[in-house]
Amino acid sequence: MSAPGTADVAGAPADAAATPRDRTTLLGTPGRRLSVVRVAAAPLLVAAGLLVLFLWVRSLELDSIEQRTLNSDYLVARVREHLVLSCAAAALVALIAIPVGMLIHRSQSTVLRTVVLGLANIGQATPAVGVVILLAIVWKTGFSTALVALVAYSFLPVLRNTLTGLAEVDPATREAARGMGMTRWQVLRRIELPLASPVILAGLRTSLVFAVGVATIATFINAGGLGDMIVNGLKLQRYPVLIVGSCLVAAIAILIDWLAGLVEELARPRGL
């Protein structure tokens, strides 16, 4: 289907990055030692961007509508809502999807695997905004709906990465482990899981960054977050509000990707 190490169509959007060898990220080409430049570049750029944004906003004459949103209380509240929503979603996905992936892998059922991977491909093609809005229509609006929609949306990609990561473990390594008398669970826990962890973490990272993006849409169903600023700025033609909202959400996404990239690299088992 696709050459090794390249984006596979099955990959989630940013998750074209899910293959460990060719993961190109904000940190540059991973796998080697972390250089100072690579560690510091993203936060420095973001800080510089935010500083410019801050100075620009200060130089503006804000009208009453703008003043109501462009103040620290309002901004902190929106950023907090946004982070809580995306992080809660990613954490829930990790807690559910990884164990489920382990169980499916353990069951050794090819039927189950095929069904899950097929569903993941269709889930992949489903627009996030559609999931969020549909759920709001059939259930209710608000934070919990947004959370459920986010979890539902990120669940399959993480599950798929878990399955792929576990399946990609070198058969010789697995056979050696079995041949030494490890039980299937011991092989899973001590050998397969550590070896699959880079792929699983890459999937989680993608879903976290994605969650930050989809959380923006949560504003449509009254779940708060920085999407509020974007939508209001657009609707009321207050461009400073729109731009501050957009820049903040972009900054969060980039920083979270950066942070997740660091964790990913530090958590990579030594020897790989």
């Binding site: 390594t173 041949g179 008398g181 020897g271």
Partner: protein, 343 residues
């Protein structure tokens, strides 16, 4: 190892050597395949014996071997190790007492060499000190300096070093039985030869019962106490000592598998003392060959020097006899059961 409380095979209590393996009417049929991969395979392997399974790829030799530790479950037949039916043991328990080395080695890339070797001792619940002592001892046995290699990761080792670490890992819990699937197949010829020599030296020390699968007949001749030449469905075409097989191939199939130069291969197995030496008195001007050399070495020397005979000398360089072309030929003619010399 004095503490053998972990052993599941009765006669290994107190000894470090091997135990017998008996396969009786073992058959493997894969679901959905009409023809069995292994059909009615029976063999008895003596304690401490190194038996080579040799045959072309796809003949079922690996399948046969993997049924012994139940990586592949036999469809029928029985397999007994030290008289105990392995099909009645838990596969995981069984495998912890059988050393297993595969061609791809399968070292765990995320663990250090020491942790790799400690895997089975940990599964068996050995104490930390006992495990670490054993790891150190084994690294020395396979000639990897513990100070250098214990904390390294597999990818930091060369192919030959990885293979040694793999053997050390298989030996970790001092299993009486070892299964080896083309363990040296992926190494370059020079490394392979060195690993083979080291392996023979090691086996002379530890005396495990070993089933060793290979497709390389020369390797089988070099290492094996006995060789089983296998054809399709793991049929045993001949099962005998290397010398006997070389001297008298049972059929066309075995002969074609031996290939050309059977006589030369045999000579490499025989010590010069296997030939009838003409007694000599005093020294001569003839080239000399050590009495521990093989007949092949002697023939080589004859060819190179152009002499018509050699003096065979003992460790103190005293001549013990004269050896000519005719004597070498004579040593080959009656396929006498000479004790298989380790080269």
């Amino acid at each position: 190892m004095s503490d053998r409380s972990n052993s599941i095979f009765p006669s290994t209590a107190g000894t470090s050597g091997g135990v017998s393996i008996e396969l009786d009417g073992v058959t493997k049929v894969y679901p959905g395949q009409g023809v069995p991969a292994v059909e009615d395979f029976s063999m008895r392997i003596e304690p401490g014996e190194l038996v080579m399974f040799v045959g072309p790829s796809g003949c079922g030799k690996t399948t046969t071997m993997k049924m012994v530790n139940r990586i592949i479950e036999p469809s029928s037949g029985s397999i007994r190790i030290d008289g105990q039916d392995v099909l009645h043991l838990s596969p995981d328990q069984l495998r912890r007492h059988i050393g297993y080395v595969i061609q791809q080695i399968g070292l765990f890339p995320h663990m250090t060499i020491a942790d790799n070797i400690a895997t089975v001792p940990k599964l068996l619940g050995w104490s930390k000190t006992r495990t670490s002592q054993r790891v150190e001892e084994l690294l020395e046995t396979v000639q990897l300096d513990p100070a250098v290699f214990a904390k390294r990761y597999p990818r930091q080792l060369s192919g030959g070093q990885q293979q040694r670490a793999g053997v050390a890992r298989a030996l970790a819990a001092d299993p009486p039985v070892m299964l080896m699937d083309e363990p040296f197949g992926a190494t370059d010829p020079i490394t392979r030869e060195r690993l083979q020599a080291e392996f023979l030296r090691l086996q002379a020390e530890i005396g495990k019962t070993i089933i060793f699968v290979t497709h390389d007949f020369d390797e089988a001749v070099r290492l094996g106490d006995r060789i089983a030449v296998l054809s399709e469905r793991s049929r045993i075409e001949q099962f005998d000592t290397p010398d006997a097989i070389l001297a008298a191939p049972a059929n066309e199939y075995v002969a074609s598998f031996i290939g050309s130069g059977a006589a030369l291969k045999r000579l490499a197995l025989l010590p010069v003392t296997a030939a009838r030496l003409t007694p000599v008195d005093g020294s001569s001007r003839r080239p000399s060959v050590s009495s521990t050399a093989t007949l092949r070495d002697a023939l080589d020397l004859l060819m190179v020097t152009g002499a018509d005979a050699l003096d065979v000398v003992d460790e103190e360089q005293r001549p013990v006899g004269r050896l000519g072309h005719a004597d070498i030929s004579a040593a080959l003619t009656p396929p006498e059961r000479v004790e298989v010399g380790t080269p």
